[in-house]
């Protein structure tokens, strides 16, 4: 478990301190601590069941934590009910009130706060303008598309001028095109308005595109937190590496400056800092885009399958028991059955454990990213 030090609380917009929550016997959130700077956009990323939504709903006040503190602008809000928390949430499901017009949906919170009518009217018009639905105020939600509805919901949330904006997978009910469109919109709007924002998602692309920082959650704990680039480039665990981007895991044994894989394949570890390389079993992690493929009739690897993935092709490669995926340019002339040689542009070294599998106890993973090219040889080649 990696969490941030608890020193950043002063001046933070939001601080979670060892927040815990269990449902029945099942621990949903396990001592999560997090500090979010004003105007920061932080994403809680994780698979379903990782506790990310529970964390978000605890911030919003919909769920009371079993323990720990939640500070918003340095005030503990754990005892503050939903309706008085300075947060606003955008929900996963379309949550507009179907019996109220778009304008009334947006103005509802302001009406409850007994703002003057003229102020409400101006504010609603302004917000609908911002979300690009200026002419839709008189319509009912049912007359709007899903994307439009979510934009109204966003306007509704912003109308409350929340200190923290909570986004609970708000794009998942939309189709791909709308999703991309809306998240771009949300990102630019958030930059403009500057509201501190927490997003919950299981979509890595979303997380990478929107976030200032990403917290990867697993089994109710934060597995790693950092900027998108740092997490992508230096995943601290196999789980993070697999959840954010794709990664090949190759089991092997370290032998001096070499890692020996099954089937007689060796991977040189020259570029890996010596102190990071222990002896014994390891997992070598290689992102598919870091696999450099060269067509070579005498190469050790055979192409099993080719899949188009938009702007790249995904090759499924195999050599004996070792199989991995590689992203290659579309112009690379390789067909199923063709042979090739491989190099790794960048590799990560993890202590041995089943990649992507269940957590195997408390053993932390050693990571060792290398930057230099690692030439890969195989036993046959070496013999020649």
């Amino acid at each position: 478990m990696r969490t941030e030090p608890l020193t950043a609380s002063r001046g933070s917009a939001l601080v979670l301190e060892q927040v815990r929550k269990a449902f029945g016997g099942a621990v949903a959130v396990d001592e999560v601590s997090l500090s979010v700077a004003p105007s920061e956009f932080v994403t809680l990323l994780g698979p379903s069941g990782s506790g990310k939504t529970t964390v978000l709903r605890m911030i919003g006040g919909f769920i009371a934590p079993d323990g720990g503190r939640i500070l918003i602008d340095d005030n503990d809000v754990v005892k503050v009910p939903v309706e008085r928390r300075p947060t606003a949430m955008l929900f996963q499901q379309l949550s507009l009130w179907p019996h109220l017009s778009v304008a009334r949906n947006v103005s509802f919170g302001l009406e409850l706060r007994k703002r003057p009518k003229t102020e409400i009217r101006t504010r609603v018009a302004e917000l609908l303008e911002i979300v690009g639905l200026a002419d839709f105020g008189g319509r009912l939600p049912a007359q709007l598309s899903g994307g439009q509805q979510q934009r109204v919901a966003l306007a509704r949330a912003l109308a409350l001028e929340p200190r923290i904006l909570l986004l609970d997978e708000p794009f998942s009910a939309l189709d791909t095109k709308l999703r991309v469109e809306l998240r771009t919109f949300v990102r630019s709007l958030q930059r403009e308005v500057g509201t501190t924002t927490i997003l919950v998602t299981h979509d890595q692309e979303e997380a990478l595109e929107l976030s200032d920082r990403i917290a990867v959650l697993r089994d109710g704990r934060i597995e790693q937190i950092g900027t998108p680039g740092a997490i992508y480039d230096t995943p601290e665990t196999g789980f993070v590496a697999e959840f954010l981007g794709a990664m090949n895991f190759l089991a092997g044994t370290v032998d001096g400056r070499l890692a020996r894989l099954s089937g007689g394949i060796t991977v040189p570890l020259d570029a890996v800092p010596t102190d990071e390389v222990g002896a014994g079993r390891v997992e070598i992690g290689v992102r598919p885009e870091d696999v450099i493929v060269t067509p070579d009739p005498g190469g050790a690897f055979v192409v099993e399958r080719v899949t188009r993935k938009g702007y790249v092709n995904e090759l499924f490669l195999r050599s004996g028991p070792v199989s991995l995926r590689a992203y290659v340019g579309k112009d690379l002339a390789l067909e199923p059955g063709g042979s090739c040689a491989l190099r790794f542009g960048h590799l990560h070294l993890f202590s041995a454990r089943p990649p992507g599998g269940e957590a195997d106890g408390e053993a932390p993973l050693a990571t060792a990213p290398i930057d230099a090219l690692a030439e890969m040889t195989n036993a046959r080649e070496a013999a020649r």
Binding site: Q93, W97, L160
Partner: protein
């Protein structure tokens, strides 16, 4: 990739060509059979649609027409069986006579019966609606074991025969019943006797109607999305405001159904007002049965039946208005 996609698409085209241009003889009758199947299915569908209609006509429509004719004094033909034994009949010629209708409506007691019935069904329906909505919505917004238990208890009358329930309630609310004994202990004698009173009828009808109303409202409340309720609280609404301004407006249709069905149920009820109600005024259901079987006046009973029908139709209009989808814009 380029190479593999070529043959694949060619194969597909070939496949299409085979089935389209060269239909094998074996398939032809199959196709024809399919066409005739559709014909049969169409016929079956229309027959299935016709059956309920025919059923309604034979068992509902025709009897209604007959009793309408009876009301207007057409005593012969299909009505002769009923009218041969009836008393105080007013025969009509041509279109018919309004004699039976005026006879009843000129009777002050009958007008009292109508207003008593109207008051009972309006009050009962309103109380049932409030109870059912409160119970279900409260549980939705603030779930607790107590409310869950209450909800469960409210459904129990569904499993108790109305006759037995009415009789027990009649005893319970009588002068020697539980409520009055309690009232007497508190020093207010005879304040809580409901047997033989319209208040008793209302209470019992509420008891009888509540289960269905609770079940229906529960379904309605369940259809409210969590997010729409959460969003309201998030926007700063206290639970009562959420209930009043967000949940209730979305339950308009269910509320209309509960109100109208309860009203129609009460309107046509017999057992409850018969056992619990006062000797006068009578609820129309009891009045109709008495007039038909005790006073042996089938024609006048038909008038009462028609009165009930008109009241039910009014409730039906309310239902149609309330359950209509909102059309906004334009």
């Amino acid at each position: 990739m380029a190479l593999s996609s070529g043959p694949l698409s060619a194969e597909l085209t070939a496949g299409v060509a085979v089935t389209d241009r060269d239909p094998s003889p074996a398939r032809r009758p199959g196709k024809r059979r399919r066409a005739s199947d559709e014909g049969t299915r169409g016929g079956l569908t229309s027959l299935l649609g016709f059956l309920p209609l025919a059923f309604l006509l034979v068992f509902g429509g025709i009897p209604i027409v007959l009793s309408l004719l009876l009301m207007l004094g057409h005593l012969g033909g299909p009505n002769s069986a009923v009218s041969s034994l009836g008393q105080d009949e007013i025969p009509g010629r041509g279109i018919g006579t309004l004699g039976a209708i005026t006879q009843l409506f000129e009777n002050h007691a009958y007008l009292q019966d109508i207003s008593a019935t109207a008051i009972v069904f309006v009050v009962t329906s309103a109380v049932v609606l409030v109870f059912a909505t409160t119970l279900t919505l409260w549980h939705r917004l603030r779930p607790s074991r107590a409310i869950a238990t209450l909800q469960f208890l409210a459904v129990i009358p569904l499993f108790i025969p109305v006759v037995i329930a009415s009789f027990s309630l009649w005893t319970f609310w009588g002068s020697r019943g539980f409520t009055n004994s309690l009232a007497q202990l508190a020093g207010i004698s005879n304040a809580l006797i409901f047997s033989g009173k319209l208040q008793g009828v209302v209470l019992a009808e509420v008891w009888v109607s509540l289960p269905f109303a609770v079940l229906l409202m529960r379904a309605g409340v369940a259809s409210l999305t969590d997010s729409s309720l959460d969003a309201a609280r998030d926007a700063g609404a206290r639970p009562l405001t959420v209930a009043w301004r967000i949940a209730l407006p979305q339950l308009r249709k269910e509320a209309t159904i509960v109100f109208c069905f309860t009203a129609v149920g009460v309107l046509g009820s017999f057992t409850v007002p018969y056992i619990i109600g006062p000797s006068s005024p009578l609820m129309l259901g009891v009045d109709a049965v008495n007039t038909f079987s005790s006073y042996n006046q089938p024609q006048q009973a038909a008038v009462i039946g028609f009165t009930i029908f008109v009241l039910a139709a009014l409730i039906g209009c309310l239902y149609a208005l309330g359950s209509r989808r909102r059309r906004v814009g334009r």
